[in-house]
Amino acid sequence: MAGSRLEKFGTVFNRVRDLMRSGVIQPTEKPLWYDVYQAFPPKRDPLQVKPRNRPSSQKRETVHDIFYQEDEVRAKFYEQYGAGPWPLDLTKSSYVSMCQRFVNKYTDLKRHSELDESALFEETGKALLSEGLVLRRKGASSVSAESKEPMLRLKLTDMLAEKQSVGVDSKETMDQTTQMETPPIDHSNSKTTG
């Protein structure tokens, strides 16, 4: 069957139409999709667009950034509280994350009262606390963390004290026995740094 293989010029439909008009393709050989295309043409002719690689052709409309007014609240929330206490479950479309609940509360309070931004922030935090949601601040330690850290610190300080006392004892014994030997701790330190 005759056909035209010039995909760079004209659309599929145009070429078949012109071939039929010129008589190269007989009406009996009309392709199946021809009538369908004629009845329901696409929105845009499928012409091949030549790639323009020159930087001078910059006259294009840029794609807009999508930002909402609640994004300011969300940014502050994430800055202060970090990511929510539990991860987001995106499998359900009706899932409301901690951040979203905060934003909803914030917008509600803003509509009803005329407070300042930072005051509103505090208010929403308190309101959520009253509902039973505890928000942990990023950086500031909460109760459980505090209980752990002093324990760790104590252990470390104990260990250091022990080590120092051991070192002092050994040093004293060393000095008593031989005065030429340098303390082992400093020696190891200099070795690691050097």
Binding site: G3, S4, R5, L6, E7, T11, V12, F13, R15, V16, P31, L32, W33, D35, V36, Y37, A39, F40, P42, K43, P46, L47, Q48, V49, P51, R52, R60, E61, T62, V63, H64, D65, I66, S93
Partner: protein, 219 residues
């Protein structure tokens, strides 16, 4: 034969999906700004934190047109070929084609498949009347050769174009996500349903004609 073409939505394909379904299937998610193709800009709604969001209002229209075209081609007994070089969805595409009774090609595309078909498959091969691309890119993120070959062989194409694809040569592009499994399952299901609907309608019409008049209608 002309009756289906006169109505706008003879096969009622617009009932098969809704905007909410497309949103839930995450069809609106595109790639990052750096991957964006210049020609996809008109189909994009915007850019949220460097990720392109495809305009679902346009997608609904384009998808309706594409499904309508496939339905009409299937109604007229056309051969439909599904192409997708994504290995993640190869099995899904092949099973979709089997369920429709149509054909699929999800393996390495040999250069002369469409352009050199009589030599490769034997003389008198019938080429597909419609090619449906469920992903227009091949494994090296370049445009699939079959798009250009279909345009060469005067075969119309329907394709799901993501924000890093070139939609210019595809007859009926459908801007949408082609990476998420949910979105791919949605497309496969929609195409399967339209083709089955069209074929059932065809059988009904043939039965009606064979009962009402003894002469078969001209195809």
């Amino acid at each position: 034969m002309k009756v289906p073409l006169e109505k706008q939505d003879f096969f009622r394909v617009s009932e098969l999906f809704s905007l909410k379904e497309l949103f839930d299937a995450r069809v609106h998610l595109g790639h990052k700004i750096g991957c964006r193709h210049r020609l996809m800009q008109p189909y994009l709604y915007g850019c949220r934190l460097d990720q392109d969001i495809i305009d679902l209002d346009q997608t609904v229209e384009y998808l309706q047109q594409a499904l309508n075209f496939t339905a009409h081609v299937a109604y007229r007994g056309g051969i439909i070929l599904f192409i997708s070089r994504r290995r993640q969805f190869g099995h899904l595409v092949e099973s979709t084609a089997i369920d429709c009774g149509e054909y699929a090609h999800t393996r390495y595309y040999q250069g002369g498949l469409l352009t050199n078909a009589p030599v490769q498959y034997g003389p008198g091969v019938r080429l597909p009347d419609l090619i449906v691309f469920l992903s227009t890119l091949n494994n090296v993120f370049q445009q699939h050769v079959a798009i250009r070959d279909a345009a060469k062989m005067n075969i119309p194409t329907v394709g799901v174009v993501d924000s890093n694809c070139n939609p210019s040569l595809i007859t009926y592009p459908v801007p949408g996500n082609d990476d998420t499994p949910v979105a791919m399952e949605l497309y496969c299901r929609l195409f399967k349903m339209t083709i089955n609907r069209a074929k059932d309608k065809r059988r009904q019409m043939e039965l009606l004609y064979s009962f009402s008049a003894p002469s078969t209608p001209s195809s």
